[in-house]
């Protein structure tokens, strides 16, 4: 298939993360792997970047890409590199993979005919995601050009030879026009301590929301109200994660037959009625959704 043909034309496609996989030995004269990440899927094999290119040229459908497999491969690749793993490559992978995931999610959502504004907005969101991905890749390539130019330029040294004494004497008197106060401000600016490098991880780990705790809130409210809509139940949620947790709690309660759910039409109002009786006991809500996600086999 096309993807493989292109992959073969690309030397990087032969890069072996750890050389442990049989059957894909590089050709004898091929250069040793340069540590670049290579994706191996049922319908694609080659560098990550090529995969993106194919998707961007509509030669591959993003919905047909097994992202979990791509992720597993990447993790294996990083492990294979041992202590030499590359932060830049990892970051880039995360950026692109997250965008792909967004894209895939958008594609998988049901789209009938474009009838109302919501559908249009969905399509627009999808195009925007796509545009963002392409734009990011464009800048990434520009960054490569910058890097090359900076390297080339670093090999040219400018002449910055001081003036000979007899010429230096001719220099006009220095004029310092910023005044004593301006001078002090400049000193403060120049001497301002530079921040130490720190790793902030707030943006990686969203604060955890426990489904169990949210279930207790949902149960308490339903006992009081008897019947209400999910909209009302989630009204005061401080963030999306809490809304999701309350929804998952509802699913658990439904499984325990503690609630009855009713929705007249797709995407319509979801009505929730308490059916768990008057007792004090809270129906069993497992910690299924609270568990730390352990690595899954591909």
């Amino acid at each position: 298939m096309l993807a493989e043909a292109e992959a073969e034309a690309q030397p990087d496609a032969e890069a072996e993360p750890d050389g442990s996989e049989a059957g894909t030995a590089p050709e004898p004269e091929a250069e040793p792997g340069d540590g670049r990440f290579t994706v191996r899927l049922a319908n694609f094999e080659g560098p990550f970047d090529l995969l993106l290119q194919l998707i961007s040229k509509h030669k591959m459908d993003v919905t047909e890409v097994a992202l979990s497999k791509v992720t597993d491969e990447f993790m294996a690749h990083i492990r294979g590199m041992g202590p030499d793993w590359d932060l830049d490559q990892t970051t880039e992978f995360l950026v692109v993979a997250a965008t792909l995931l967004d894209l895939k999610a958008a594609r998988l959502l049901p789209v009938a005919e474009v009838e109302d504004e919501a559908d249009l907005a969905l399509l627009e969101a999808r195009d925007l995601l796509f545009a963002r991905l392409l734009q990011y890749r464009a800048y990434k390539r520009i960054a490569d050009i910058f890097s090359e130019r900076l390297d080339t330029e670093a090999r040219r040294y400018p002449r910055t030879v001081g003036l000979e004494a007899h010429l230096a004497e001719l220099l006009p008197d220095v004029v310092i026009s910023i005044g004593a106060e301006g001078f002090a401000k400049l000193a403060v600016k120049a001497m301002q301590p530079r921040a130490k490098p720190q790793v902030y991880v707030d943006h990686i780990h969203a604060p955890l929301v426990s489904v169990r705790e949210q279930a207790e809130i949902v149960v308490a409210r339903l006992r009081e109200a008897g019947e209400t809509s999910f909209r009302v139940l989630a009204e005061d949620a401080p963030d999306t994660l809490t809304v999701v947790a309350r929804f998952l709690a509802l699913l658990e309660l439904f499984r325990e037959k503690a609630v009855v759910l009713d929705q007249d039409e797709a995407l319509g109002e979801l009505m929730v009625r308490w059916s768990g009786g008057e007792g004090d006991g809270v129906p069993t809500v497992t910690d299924e959704f609270d568990r730390v996600v352990t690595e899954e086999k591909a």
């Binding site: 464009a138 520009i142 900076l150 330029e153 040219r156 040294y157």
Partner: protein, 210 residues
């Protein structure tokens, strides 16, 4: 300056003599003013000199970078120069810094949050590095949000060996479906000067097919 200067001195050697003592790139205007010659004549003479050095295979070159002229050692002799000049070697920028720099270069003036939006990750730390290295500086604030705007500096041009921002490579060829992208991205980024010594188009093409 005396009437005599203009009469007696040949322009080209006079320019060579002056450029021996310049510490930072000298603009054609400044040189024209000091030597009392028309800017056009000065500009022509400088280009002729630069060509002569190249034709004669000199170990130095005369280049127009960041709006000014000055002498540089030729890149081919960098190893020899580095035997003498210990400092002035530049630490390489990380991929993140290069990408941020690329976005600032094409979108300037631009806020940190806009750069982050393009790159999909927070760029605050990287922007700080670029500020510290003098490659970008602040350029006022965005009227609506009050966010600080950033632009590239003359030092950036010097490090890149560019005469000006209009020499940046065109972004469009890197966008497979240019029409799908917001039009503003494509504005104001004319291509590299094809007459430039090391036609960057070739780099560009190398990178297009991955």
């Amino acid at each position: 300056m005396s009437e005599g200067l203009r009469e007696e001195l040949e322009l080209k050697p006079a320019l060579e003599a002056v450029l021996m003592v310049v510490d930072e790139p000298a603009t054609e205007e400044h040189l024209a003013k000091v030597l009392e010659r028309p800017r056009r004549a000065v500009a022509d003479a400088l280009r002729e000199l630069a060509d002569e050095y190249t034709v004669q295979g000199r170990g130095f070159e005369l280049r127009l970078v960041a709006g000014g002229w000055r002498f540089y050692s030729r890149a081919a002799y960098a190893d020899a120069v580095e035997g003498f000049v210990l400092d002035g070697q530049h630490a390489r920028l990380t991929q993140a810094a290069l990408e941020t720099l690329a976005v600032v270069a094409y979108r300037q003036p631009v806020s940190r949050s806009r750069v982050s939006a393009v790159r999909g990750v927070n760029c605050d730390g990287v922007m700080r590095t670029l500020l510290q290295r003098g490659l970008v500086d602040e350029a006022g604030t965005e009227p609506e949000t009050g966010a600080i705007l950033y632009r590239t500096t003359n030092y950036f041009l010097e490090r890149m060996g560019l005469r000006g921002l209009d020499e940046l490579p065109e972004l469009a060829p890197f966008l497979p479906e240019a029409d799908a992208i917001e039009a503003e991205t494509l504005e104001g980024v004319p291509s590299f000067d094809p007459d430039a010594p090391d036609a960057p188009e070739t780099h560009a093409d190398d990178k297009t097919e991955m």
